[in-house]
Every structure is written in C-alpha cells, then in structure tokens.
Symmetry: C2
Subunit: 248 residues, 2 copies
DNA sequence: AATAATAATTCATCTATATGAATTTGTAAA
DNA sequence: TTTACAAATTCATATAGATGAATTATTATT
C-alpha cells in the first residue's frame, strides 16, 4: 500500500474488496487472517463499518458481510458516465468477437485507471489487475482520452503533469504529444505499439460521454504482431460495438 | 458521528455520500466546506482516495468525483440478496399503489437498517432517513425478519441481544417475542401498532431470499388509523407485488 | 458441571493522524 | 509584468489510532 495513503482509509477498502472477492459472510478472525491485521485493530474497524451501516453483522453466525448500502454508494454513477450496463456488455461483446484483452478505463489525475479488464482467451495475452493505473500522457488509452479535450486543456494538463514529474526525463514534450493527439483525432482511435510494455500493442477509442474530462476509454491489446495483423478487424469491431452502444 | 467509529473511517463514507448527494465534481475546498473538515485533513483524505482509485481528480478542473470503482464495490451484492433491480421496482410499485411510506430493510447486528425509504405522498406521512436503524426485537420489521429464522436461532439471538441491553428494562422477554413470531408466521406478515413511534402503524413482510439471516423486509407504514383502515388492501398489494417479484 | 479451546475485550504504550497557523504556489485580473 | 487573492503545502504539536500481551467471555465437548 502506498505510503501516502492514510492507513485506516486503505483498510476500509481492503475489507470491502475482500467481501467482493469471497462473496460470503466472514468472521472477524477470517478477515484478520486474510488481510493480516492485528486482532483488535480489525475489530475496531469492523465495528465502525457495522455502526455506519456499510457492513452487517449477523447476530446468529457472528459473521460480517457487505451491506446493500455499499451498493447504493455507487449505483448512481454509471448513468452519469453514460456507462449503463450496456457498456459492460459492449466490452464483453468485443472480447468475444476478438478473443483479445479488452479494457475499460477512466482518467484519474495523471493516470488512466482500469475499471474493467477482460483478459484475452489466447494462451499469450495481455494481463492487468483491475484498479491498475497507467500514465495519462504516454499510453494509447491516455492519448485517446486526452484527444477528447481541447488543445488548451491538453496543454494545461501537461504543464501540471510535467511539474510533478520526478525528473526531466519523465517530462513529456507538448509538440510530440500533439502529433499523437492530432493523429488520434483524425483516425478516431489511438494505436500504440511498444509504448509501455515491450512487444505489445493496443487500439484505444474514447466512448461518447457527457463531458470530456470523464469520458471512458475502451481498448483492445495484445502481442504487437497479432494486434497489427488484425488491426482492421479490431477497429471495425470496436466501431460497430460503440455505435450500437451509443444508441442504447 | 458515533464516538465508537474510527474518525477517518467515518470520513471516507461522508465523502462518498457527499458525491452521491451532489452528483457532480467538487473541489477540495467545496468538500471541506460541506463536511466542515480542516483543510489539510480533508486534503490527505481526498489524496488517499484518489491514490486508491475510488475518487478521481480531473487534472484540468482540479475537481474530485467518485470513480466507477465505487460502483464495483457493491454491484455484485443485490444478486446475492435476491434483490435484483426488480426489488426497487416492487417497492416503488407498492408506494404508487398505496401512497404510504414504503421501506426496504435488512438485519444488522441487533438492528434493522433501512436500505430504501420512499416517503408517503400524503401530507401526514411516516418519514425516516436512509441508513436509519430500528431495533431488531421490538419492531414490526424486526419481528418479520426474525420470523424467518428457527426458534433456536431466535432464542440465541435474543440471549445475545439481552446481554448487551443497557438496562433490565431494555431486555425483551422471549415468551412474549415468540407470541409475535408465531402470529407473524401464521399470517405471513407482522402488523405493528404503536410499537416504536406513537400513533403509527406498519405492516411488514419478509422477502424470499437465499438464507434467513439475510432476508430483506418490506414494510408499509403511516398513521395508525389510516393503516388500520386500509390494512386488507395493504396486505393484498404487498402479497401481489412480492408474488410478482418472486417470479422475476 | 467442568474443562479446554477459541473469540472478544481491555489497556499501556508506541505510532499515525489531525489540526491550525504560517508559508509557498498558482491563478486571474489589471 | 505585477499584484491580489485563493488554493495548496508544510510543520510543530496535540489527539487519535494501532498494537500486542494479558485478561475475560463464550462456546463446544466430555
């Protein structure tokens, strides 16, 4: 866990993700063991979550579980992103049509963060954990997202991003970035080869959405040769799926 | 906020509920002002949530917002409770048919906790905040829930509950409780008049679900005279709605 | 009823977080 | 370019949380 995260804040989400992973009630001891917390610390946290109503405690089994109030924390969101349940169906459809890794991601600070990752069915497939973050300014999905914004917004965003760069070599050149942006705008998608992970390629398209700063990005990725070979088919499938998505 | 809740844990949910209430991006200063937090404390919390991926920070507007990962924390739950989107439609349908306050609740420790509250359309209507908790052993919704469990489970649960009672007068007598339980089982619903709030009444029914300790309860409540007068119609509407719900 | 094992709670102490004032940085307007 | 204002960050200190050992309570078995 990042050193900059408040400890008990991180633990809140670890607990909620644990129940999402197991999908069954767990005792306090089980939670302790899975998450490797000291007993009394975990107890205080679990009791807080029960008092607040986000976890339930069954009085017969003395097991904890997520409450439906956790569902309500986030069930209003997809509609605001123009990401109805059709969005997940669309990602699934692209995955079935192509067999490659398909991702859905959103911008977060100077990163793109994965919301959904469906790993390819080929033995050799690109693989990411959900929640993974990739750089906003140097990846295909980031460029596809930025391309939905104005030149001015991009310049301002890059200026801020470069200010936070750890070293001069981490800084991105605006003119070089704009070449990729223009290319993406012209084609309607961003193709990225050998950008972050060697020998891999990805095609990324932004989904239509209510505002440019929240637009989601869908991408297809895999080994560079396979992606290049099937590029035309990938683009066709993605466009068709997004077109169907838009009219839902 | 309860004294027994870890402070920053409570704040996590305050922030997420704030975004649910406003449904638009907010600056750090706005979050501070709405929640009355010291500036640097709020900053540390917001940054933690961004790093963990549950909030997003837009690099152009420098505004925070909930991430779709919040949705994913809880979108798997309704299916496990047998509470598909039809459950909310059912609650809404009962509300439209009767015009009274309708609630959906779930057991949590020695309470029933409201998940959904739709306030009646009459000028005089029963009104609760979402997230409100009522006693498990002494309210109509609690008794309706307990009636789905075995006698042994009820006795055990009451023993634990009584052990935690602050005073002897807060303890519930098992034999008296079982009279209400048997009545509820015989009729298929619990009718409660003047139990918690004076001059109010409620009819409560448990929804079918995968296990008794997680069964949700739907209830119709309002001023005692109006509920008594329309009791037969309420029971009919609820049964019909639950029957339709079961086959969805 | 007694006993053993497990779970839950308590408490002293150490570590982490929260706070608010001061300082620095960023932005917008002149 | 300069200035004023707002936002963000820093830091010393106070408060809260985490920890782990010890103790108490609960449960299951004999």
């Amino acid at each position: 866990m990042s050193k900059d995260v408040v400890k008990s804040v991180g633990r809140v989400f670890s607990v909620l993700e644990l129940f999402k992973t197991h999908q069954k009630p767990l005792t306090a001891t089980e939670v302790c063991n899975y998450l490797d917390y000291p007993k009394s610390s975990a107890d205080a946290l679990l009791k807080s979550l029960v008092i607040l109503g986000y976890l339930t405690l069954d009085i017969n089994t003395t097991k904890y579980f997520s409450s439906l109030r956790v569902t309500k924390l986030g069930d209003w969101l997809p509609e605001l992103f123009g990401a109805s349940s059709y969005a997940l169906q669309m990602v699934d459809h692209i995955h079935k049509a192509l067999g490659e890794t398909v991702t859905l991601s959103m911008p977060n600070d100077i990163h793109m963060q994965f919301i959904t990752v469906i790993t390819g069915t080929f033995p050799i497939s690109l693989s990411f954990q959900q929640g993974t973050k990739l750089p906003l300014f140097t990846t295909g999905i980031g460029i596809a997202q930025l391309a939905t914004r104005t030149d001015e917004q991009i310049a301002k965003a890059l200026k801020r991003g470069n200010r936070r760069a750890a070293s001069a070599q981490d800084r991105v050149n605006l003119d070089e970035l704009m070449v990729d942006i223009e290319s993406t705008r012209a084609k309607g998608y961003c193709e990225a080869f050998n950008r972050l992970v060697p020998d891999t390629g990805a095609i990324a398209m932004a989904l239509p959405g209510p505002s440019s700063e929240s637009q989601l990005v869908v991408a297809v990725g895999g080994p560079i040769d396979r992606i290049k070979k099937t590029e035309d088919k990938i683009i066709q499938e993605m466009r068709q799926a997004i077109r169907s998505y838009r009219s839902s």
